[in-house]
């Protein structure tokens, strides 16, 4: 999906800056970032470490307050959106609770919302099927591989059927093979749930493969240096990774970094 005049705006950032104060000096982590993300769009925040991409995601999630600028999510503030349970977040590590089995880890947000047990069971079965972990429903997290754990985390993030899925380098700890397979699985899940996805990554191929648009961020200070449309058709397939168009997009993004 590309941005057109008719697209409904989901997330709007205006002139967002973030300063960290240390004893001696002040670090500008983000400098006046403005961007719009449409409803149902899959976008990536791409950049090297220190570019503020995770900070930007955390500001959207209302886990951090920006020093300046405003965040609007579906017409509300980020805080209101969080309290209205509009977010599903997938962190860099799976953050599963050791004392819960796969199934109850997934239904944790439903428990917090007071959803009835029968409904939780039904939703859990549905989500386990979605992420392909039906056989592991009664396992503890430590009995799963890293990739499986991250799939559980994705299922948990989807439990509330969130309007917005925020993902902070969710596959960065995985090997290249698991990562590519999970990229494809994520797209297939996304095509079924249709949430807006904001995906933070430092991998150019990953951003190109997944996204409708890629926001390229550059460091020192963190700023938005380019927005690249990815016109590859959907559904995306592994073969596309070998096509000239794919490589062309990677080159285009690489050229757009400033001051790295």
């Amino acid at each position: 999906m590309t941005m057109t005049a008719t697209t409904v705006q989901e997330i709007q950032l205006e002139q967002v800056s973030m300063r960290y104060r240390t004893d001696a000096s002040e670090v500008l982590a983000l400098q006046q970032v403005s961007l719009n993300i449409g409803r149902g769009e899959f976008v990536s925040l791409l950049g090297p470490s220190g570019c503020g991409k995770t900070t930007l995601l955390r500001i959207m999630a209302d886990l951090l307050q920006p020093s300046e600028g405003s965040v609007t999510v579906a017409g509300k503030s980020a805080r209101e959106a969080r309290l209205a349970q509009k977010y599903g977040i997938v962190f860099q590590s799976p953050v599963l609770y050791d004392w819960r089995k796969v199934k109850t880890n997934i239904t944790l947000p439903l428990e917090l919302m007071g959803v009835k047990k029968a409904d939780r069971e039904r939703k859990a079965a549905e989500l386990l099927e979605l992420v392909g972990l039906e056989k592991f429903r009664d396992k503890y997290p430590w009995q799963l591989s890293g990739g499986m754990q991250q799939r559980v985390a994705i299922a948990r993030a989807l439990a509330m059927e969130p309007e917005i899925l925020l993902m902070d380098e969710p596959f960065s700890a995985l090997d290249e093979f698991s990562r590519e397979r999970l990229n494809e699985e994520l797209l297939s899940i996304w095509s079924k749930v249709g949430s807006t996805v904001v995906f933070v990554t430092h991998s150019i191929p990953e951003a190109v493969f997944l996204s409708d648009r890629v926001f390229v961020l550059s460091p020192h200070p963190g700023r938005l240096s380019a927005v690249v449309e990815i016109p590859l058709p959907r559904p995306r397939t592994q073969e596309m990774r070998n096509g000239p168009e794919f490589f062309g997009l990677i080159a285009k993004i690489r050229d757009s970094f400033e001051g790295v």
Binding site: A61, L63, V95, L108, M113
Partner: protein, 270 residues
């Protein structure tokens, strides 16, 4: 559960061999002191194992009855102390202020020698049962509070952020995150405290009680060498009560928090 039986079977044999050799050595040294070297009061120093066992058999009803009194009071004190310790840990984890206020006193309380505190408490309450309960609770309180506080604080920032992102209420954060995360710490504290609470109860009995394993222990010590076997029997019963308390807590831990890293099968299932 297959892994567990395998593990215990693998462990049982060495433990058995150890125990048998240790007892054999004991018996041998005991014989050596008594018959070969003719050491005075040899049976008070290291009595024959078989004689102790026989005495324990002969006096089993007495030992069981007195042991039960000690254990019952210690258990009650232990429960009260554990509840108070856990409650203080929760308060301290909720507020840095309460921690700064309460923690120095909690530490200072541990500086008081139990040997001195026991007669003071007995002098105040004038009841052997209640003194036993209070001392056992007093000993239990600190390790439980300290270890549970550490457990409550062990929660990863990202685990808290997850709760935050779901706009979870403070109560839910405690109930669904901090409490479960504190269980390994809590049980660590309970396992330290359980045998100590038994020891504490016995100590109170030595101050002059009517019932309890400590009472017959002291009595048989006064009777001298003729009662050496019975004295040793009471010491062993006291030790067994401590072991029993530890064992009960361990069983409980396994039932309540089977997910702990300590209980995972070796090598994992990855």
């Amino acid at each position: 559960m297959r892994g567990r039986t395998f593990l215990s079977r693998g462990r049982a044999l060495p433990v058995l061999v150890w125990a048998v050799s240790l007892l054999a050595l004991w018996e041998l040294v005991s014989w050596y002191l008594l018959e070969a070297r003719h050491v005075p009061l040899a049976q008070s120093k290291l009595p024959y194992v078989h004689e102790i066992v026989r005495t324990m058999g002969d006096y089993a009803p007495t030992l069981l009855k007195e042991g039960r009194v000690t254990f019952g009071n210690a258990a009650l004190g232990f429960l009260l102390g554990a509840a108070a310790g856990a409650a203080l840990a929760v308060l301290m984890s909720a507020s840095k202020r309460i921690e700064q206020l309460a923690f120095p006193y909690a530490i200072a309380s541990q500086m008081i020698p139990i040997l001195g505190l026991a007669p003071i408490i007995y002098g105040i309450v004038r009841d052997e049962k209640l003194s036993r309960i209070l001392i056992s609770g007093y000993i239990t309180f600190f390790p439980v509070a300290l270890n549970m506080l550490r457990g409550l604080r062990s929660v990863q920032p990202s685990a808290l952020e997850l709760m935050h992102s779901y706009a979870a209420k403070p109560w839910s954060v405690y109930w669904k995150l901090r409490f479960p995360a504190s269980l390994p710490g809590l049980f660590g504290g309970l396992k330290i405290a359980a045998p100590l609470s038994v020891t504490g109860a016995i100590l109170v009995e030595l101050m002059g009680a009517q019932h309890g394993i400590g009472v017959i222990m002291l009595r048989n010590l006064y009777y001298g060498s003729s009662h050496a076997y019975m004295f040793w029997a009471t010491v062993i019963v006291g030790a067994l009560l401590g072991v029993l308390s530890y064992w009960i807590i361990s069983l409980l831990e396994r039932a309540v928090s089977p997910w702990q890293p300590d209980f995972r099968a070796k090598g994992g299932a990855r």
